[in-house]
Amino acid sequence: MACPLLGLWALCEVLVPVVAGWTVDRAVLTGDVTALVTSVLAVAALFLVLSLSYRHGIRPLLAAQEHEGHALRVAVARRSLDPRGARHHRADGEVLSVASSDAERTADVLDAVALLVSAVVSLGAVAVTLLGLHVPLALAVLAGAPLVSLALRGLGPLVTRRASAQQEAVAATSALATDLVRGLRVLHGLGAAPAAAARYRRSSDAALAASLRSAAADGAQLGATTLLSGAFLAAAAGAAGFLALRGDLSVGELVVVVGLAQHLSQPVRLVGAAMARLAASRASAARVAALLAEEHVAPAGGLAPSGSPALHVQGLRTGRLTGLDLDVRPGELVALVAEDPADAADLLDVLAGRVPPGEVGRAVRLDGAAWADLDASAVREVVHVEPHATSLFEGTLATNLDVAPARPRTGGPTLAQALAAAGADEVVGLDPRGLDRPLLDRGAGLSGGQRQRLGLARALLADPPLLVLHEPTTAVDAVTEQTVARGLRALRHDAADPAAPRSTLVVTAGPALLAVADRVVLVSGGRAAGTGPHADLVLADHRYRAAVLG
C-alpha cells in the first residue's frame, strides 16, 4: 500500500509545474474567470492528494522500517547473549555495530525500494508529459538530464576523497581530545598539560587544513552543479522557446517544459541514491545473517548436573595445559597459583563453557559426570565463573547486586552478609543514597577496587555450589585483601550448611587469600607442580615463593 501512495505523491510533484503552465495558458493568457476558478480548484485538489498520499504512504513505510530494525536488533542481541555461546569470537565493537547500524541499514531496504518506486514514477510521468507535448524535444530533454548527471559525477571522486580525508582528520582530532581528557589525571601528574595542548593544536591544525581543502572541492562541485543545470535549463528553454515561436508549443506548454526540465535532475539522482542504498542494505543484511547463523559452542541438551560441587580434573589438555590434574571437593576452598597466567585462563575458559565440551571430553567431571555429557546451560546453575574484568550494568547498586535468578535453595547469604564478606559494605556507605545510588555509564565513576568488591559481593550473593574466582583482589589494598579473604572463608565455608556444601576455586597469587585456602595448587608448564597449604609451600617450594612473594 505504501509504494503506490508514494508513487502517487511523486506523480503529484511532477504535476505542480504542469498545472502552473496550464493555468497560464487557460486562464492568465485568456483572462477567463471560469478557467481561473477551475485552475484554483485543480491546484487545491493536487496539493490535497500530494499531501495525503505522502502522509499515508510514508507513515506505514517508515513504521515498518522501524519495526524491522527493532526486530533485527533484538535478534542480534539475543543471539549474542545466548548461553550456548558462539564458536567464532567477535569483538564487542563488531557485535555492537551489527546490532545498531547493520540492523538499521538492513531495514533500510524498505526505504530504498520506495525511493526507487517514486523516482521511477517521476521519470515516467515527466517522460509521458513531455512526449505528449513534442516528441523530438522530449527525447532531447530526457537524454540530456542523465548526461548532465553523468558529467557532474566527474567531480565525485575528488569530492569524496577530500571529504573522507577531512572526516578522518576531524575524527582523529575529536578522538585525541576525548583521549586526552580521559588521561587528564595522568597529564596533571606529569605536569604535561602544556605538551598535550600543543599536541592537540597540531592535530586541530591538520584537521583545519583538510577541512579547507574539502571546502574547495565542495564549492567546485556546487558551482559546477549550478552552472551545468543552469546551462541545461537554458538549452531546454531556448529549444522550447524556438518551438513556441514556430507555434509548435503554446505559452503554457513552454512553462511546463521549463518546469519539468528543472524537476528532472531530482529523480535521476534519486535512482542513483536508491541503488547505492540497496547495495549497502544487502551488505549489512549479509553481516546480520552471518551473526545469526553462527554455530553454538555447546550442543543443546545433555545430562542435568546433580548439583554437587565436586570438581575432578584429570589430564586436561587444552590451549597451553599439558595434562592438568585438579580436585575441588565439596566444601573445600582451593587456590590456584599459575606461574604463567595464561595456564589459569585456559582452565577458566573450559569451566566457563567457552571451549566446546566435546574437546574437553572426560578430562573434567562434575560429581562424576563427564563434561561432554552435561547440559552446558544447566552446568551454570552449579558452576559460576566470575570474570576478572567484572562488568557492572546501568541501574542502581541494588539492581546490580541482585541479578542472578534465585537458586532452588533457601538459606543463602543475605545481601548484608555478602557485602560485608566482599568488603563492599564500605563502598555502599560512601554515598548517602546507599544501595539506591545510581550507576551511570556502567559504573565508570567507581574505582577499580570498588568495582572488584561489588562484583565479588554479587557473586557471593548468587551463592553457587561451585564459585570460581579469577584474581578477585588485584585492585584492593593489602588491608582490604585480608578482610575479603577472611570474609570469603567465613561466609562460604566456616558458616556453611553441611547439607549443602559450597566449594570455591580461587585463581590468585594474593598471599592473604592463599593463606585462608584449604589447599593451594601450583601450576607450572601447563600442569600441577605442587600442592599443599600456603604456609607449607612457602617454606618448601622456591618456585612457589618466587611466584607469590616476588
Binding site: A195, S214, A231, A234, V251, S391, A404, A478
Partner: protein, 635 residues
C-alpha cells in the same frame, strides 16, 4: 523542485527514517536522569549573548574573509533569481511574436533573433550563478572551519589546564561530553546546517524582494502564505522539541543497554542473567522505535501544513497575476516569472523550517563550549624560589574535599633527599589524598607541603614539572604511537632523534624495551584506543617510563602496581624500583613487598598516621603493620 519533507530535496542520500537531521547510528548523549555525579558541580554554561560573542570573536579574527563569505553568498542568491526573470522574458517574447493579447506593448516580428538576448541572459546567468555559488559555498565553509578550529582549540586548551581541584568537583563526565558530543554537534552544524540556513535565508529574502519588484501586489500575494507557515511552526516546535529530546535520550539508553550487555557478556553468562539483559535491550529498543514513529507522525502533519501554505501561496500568486494581467498592469511573462520565483521558494523555506531543531541544539552546545572557553585562567602563582634540594616536608596538613568532613587530620611527614617511604592502609585511610598533596595536585586546607623548602603550590608549572611527578592510580595509555605516549613527559626542547633516544632509554630502564620490540612497529606501534591493546602491566610500565623520562627529583607513586594480575605485580615492582632509583619517593603500596623494600613504612588509618618506622622494626613492634605482614607472608 517540490518538496514535502525538508530533509529530502537538498540531499536525497540523507533520507532517513528518523527525524530531520538526526542520524540513526548516533547513539546520542548518555541518558538523562539522576546520575551518580548529580551532586557534583557542573562546568559553566555561557549566556546566549556571550556564546555569540565567542563566535563573533572567532569570525572577527579574519574580518575580510567573513565579509567576503557573506557578500558572495548574497551575490549567489541574487544570481539565482536571474533564471526565473529571463524565463519570464522568454514567455513575453513568444507571446509578443505570436501576437497574443496579454503580451507587453511594442515588439516587432524579429523571429528567432528575438530569443538571442534572452538566451544570452539565461546562459550568462547560469555561468555567473555557478561561479558565485561555488565561491560562496567554499568561502562560507572555510570561514566556518576556521571559527570551529579556533573554538575547539580554545576549549581543549582550557580543559587541559583546569586545576585538579576543579576536576575533583566536576568529574570527567561533563568534560568528556563537552569536548566530545558538544564539539561534534557544533561541527556538524557548521558543516551542514549553517551554510544551508544562510543560503536559504538569503534566497527567501531576495525572492520576496524580487516578487515585490515584479509588482507590489504580487509581493503581497506571495507573503499571504506566511501566516500559515508561522502557524504551522508555532504548532510544531513546542511539540517536536521535547519529543526529539526524548528520542535522543531513548536512543542513548538503547545504546547503553546494548553496550552494557555485550561488553559484560561474560558477567551476564556467569550470573545467568541473559534473559533480563535481553529483555532490557528489547524494552529500550521498543521505546526508541515507538518514539521514532511518534516523531514521524508529528512531522508528517507538519509537512501537510507546509503543503497547505504552499498551495495557498501558489493560488494567491496565480490569482493576483491573473487580475493584474487582465487589468493590463503585468505581462504574462511577468506572471510566469512570479510563479517560477514562488515555486523556487519552497526548497529554501523547507530548509529554514526544518532546521530549527538543529539550530537550537547547536546553540545549546555552543553555549556549553563557550562556557568552558571563557572560564577565567588560574592566576599565575607567585614565583617561589626553586626547591633547594630533593627533601619533602608535610607540616600539620588537614584536607577536606569541598567543605566535607576532613579526610586528613593533621599529618606530619618528612622525607630526606633520596629516601623511599611506603604508605600502607585501608581504603579511605587518606593515602591517595596525601599523595596528591605532596605532588601539588591539591592544596592543603591547613598546613604546608614543602619541596626542598619551597611551597609546592607556589612553584610555577615548569619548576613543578622538574621537581615532582605523580604516577596516578588511573592508568591511561594515550591513543597514538607508543613513542608519543611516553614522550608526553619529555622536558620542553627535547625533540627529534634525541627524544627518541631518551624514550628508548626510559623504556629500557623500566624493563619494557623487550616487549616493545616485539610489537609490529616497535616503539612506533599505535597503542591505546583503536591500536594494539596493552595489558595492565604493560600500561603501568609505560607510566613508569614516563616518570623516568620526566626525571623529577621527587616521585610519588599512587598504587602504581595495582590492577595487574598478581603474577605480573612482581615484575612491576622491579620496574618501579628502577624508575625511582635516586629519587625521593613516596609510594602508596598495595603489596607489602613494596613496603618491605622501602626505607621507612607509614601506616595510615582514618586520615591519621598511626605507625611509622622501618619494616623490620614495625614487624617486631607487633602493631597493626605486624598483623598485616603476618597475614601477607603466611608466617
Amino acid at each position: 523542485m517540490r518538496r514535502a519533507d525538508g530533509t529530502r530535496q537538498s540531499d536525497p542520500d540523507a533520507r532517513q527514517s528518523q527525524s530531520p537531521g538526526q542520524s540513526p547510528d548516533d547513539p546520542g548523549p548518555l541518558p538523562e536522569g539522576p546520575d551518580e555525579e548529580a551532586g557534583r558541580a557542573l562546568l559553566p554554561v555561557a549566556s546566549r549573548r556571550r556564546a555569540w560573542a565567542a563566535v563573533r570573536g572567532e569570525l572577527a579574527r579574519t574580518p575580510w574573509r567573513t565579509a567576503a563569505a557573506l557578500g558572495l553568498s548574497a551575490v549567489a542568491a541574487a544570481l539565482g533569481l536571474v533564471a526565473p526573470w529571463a524565463l519570464g522574458l522568454l514567455v513575453d517574447v513568444v507571446a509578443r511574436e505570436r501576437g497574443l493579447p496579454a503580451a507587453g506593448a511594442g515588439g516587432s516580428a524579429e523571429g528567432a533573433a528575438a530569443l538571442v538576448p534572452v538566451l544570452a541572459l539565461l546562459v550568462g546567468g547560469a555561468l555567473a550563478a555557478g561561479v558565485a555559488s561555488g565561491l560562496a559555498a567554499a568561502a562560507v565553509a572555510r570561514a566556518g572551519a576556521r571559527a570551529l578550529a579556533g573554538l575547539r582549540t580554545a576549549v581543549v586548551d582550557r580543559v587541559l589546564r583546569l586545576p585538579t581541584s576543579v576536576l575533583e568537583r566536576t568529574g570527567t563526565g561533563d568534560l568528556l561530553a563537552r569536548v566530545g558530543d558538544d564539539v561534534a554537534v557544533v561541527t556538524r552544524a557548521i558543516a551542514e546546517v549553517v551554510p544551508q540556513v544562510l543560503a536559504s535565508a538569503l534566497t527567501v529574502v531576495l525572492t520576496a524582494a524580487a516578487l515585490t519588484a515584479v509588482d507590489w501586489r504580487v509581493g503581497v500575494g506571495g507573503v499571504i502564505c506566511l501566516p500559515v507557515y508561522v502557524g504551522a511552526l508555532r504548532w510544531y516546535l513546542p511539540r517536536s522539541g521535547p519529543l526529539y529530546a526524548l528520542q535522543r535520550t531513548a536512543q542513548g539508553a538503547r545504546s547503553q543497554a546494548l553496550l552494557g550487555a555485550l561488553q559484560g557478556a561474560r558477567t551476564v553468562r556467569a550470573l545467568r542473567a541473559e534473559e533480563a539483559r535481553a529483555a532490557d535491550v528489547e524494552a529500550r529498543s521498543a521505546r526508541a522505535r515507538d518514539l521514532a514513529i511518534t516523531v514521524l507522525r508529528l512531522f508528517t502533519r507538519f509537512a501537510s501544513a507546509m503543503n497547505l501554505a504552499e498551495a495557498v501561496g501558489v493560488v494567491a500568486v496565480l490569482g493576483t497575476g491573473f487580475w493584474l494581467v487582465r487589468g493590463g498592469t503585468l505581462t504574462v511573462g511577468e506572471v510566469t516569472t512570479a510563479v517560477l520565483l514562488f515555486l523556487q521558494l519552497f526548497g529554501p523555506l523547507g530548509v529554514l523550517l526544518t532546521s530549527f531543531d538543529d539550530v537550537q541544539s547547536a546553540g545549546a552546545s555552543l553555549a556549553r563550549l563557550a562556557g568552558v572557553a571563557q572560564m577565567p585562567a588560574a592566576a599565575a602563582p607567585v614565583a617561589a624560589p626553586a626547591p633547594a634540594d630533593a627533601s619533602v616536608r608535610v607540616d600539620g596538613v588537614v584536607h577536606r574535599y569541598d567543605g566535607g568532613p576532613p579526610v586528613l587530620h593533621g599529618v606530619d611527614l618528612a622525607l630526606a633527599p633520596g629516601e623511599h617511604v611506603a604508605v600502607v592502609g585501608a581504603s579511605g585511610a587518606g593515602k591517595s589524598t596525601l599523595a596528591a598533596l605532596v605532588a601539588g595536585e591539591l592544596a592543603p586546607a591547613v598546613g604546608r607541603v614543602l619541596l626542598g623548602g619551597s611551597e609546592v603550590g607556589a612553584l610555577d608549572p615548569e619548576q613543578r614539572r622538574r621537581s615532582v611527578v605523580l604516577v596516578s592510580q588511573e592508568v591511561h595509555v594515550f591513543s597514538g604511537r607508543l613513542l608519543d605516549d611516553v614522550a608526553m613527559a619529555a622536558p620542553p626542547g627535547l625533540e627529534g632523534a634525541a627524544l627518541e633516544r631518551a624514550v628508548t632509554a626510559a623504556l629500557e630502564a623500566v624493563g619494557a624495551a623487550a616487549w616493545v620490540r616485539t610489537l609490529p612497529d616497535g616503539a612506533a606501534t599505535r597503542v591505546g584506543e583503536g591500536g594494539v591493546a596493552l595489558t595492565p602491566e604493560q600500561a603501568q610500565q609505560l607510566a613508569l617510563a614516563r616518570l623516568v623520562l620526566a626525571d623529577p627529583a621527587v616521585a610519588v607513586l599512587d598504587e602504581a602496581t595495582a590492577e595487574a594480575g598478581s603474577t605480573g605485580a612482581a615484575a612491576l615492582e622491579r620496574a618501579a624500583r628502577a624508575a625511582t632509583a635516586g629519587r625521593t619517593t613516596l609510594v602508596v603500596a598495595h603489596r607489602l613487598t613494596q613496603a618491605r623494600l622501602a626505607d621507612r613504612v607509614v601506616v595510615m588509618a582514618g586520615g591519621r598516621v598511626v605507625e611509622v618506622g622501618a619494616h623490620d622494626d614495625l614487624v617486631a613492634a607487633a602493631g597493626p603493620y605486624a598483623d598485616l605482614w603476618r597475614a601477607w607472608s603466611g608466617g
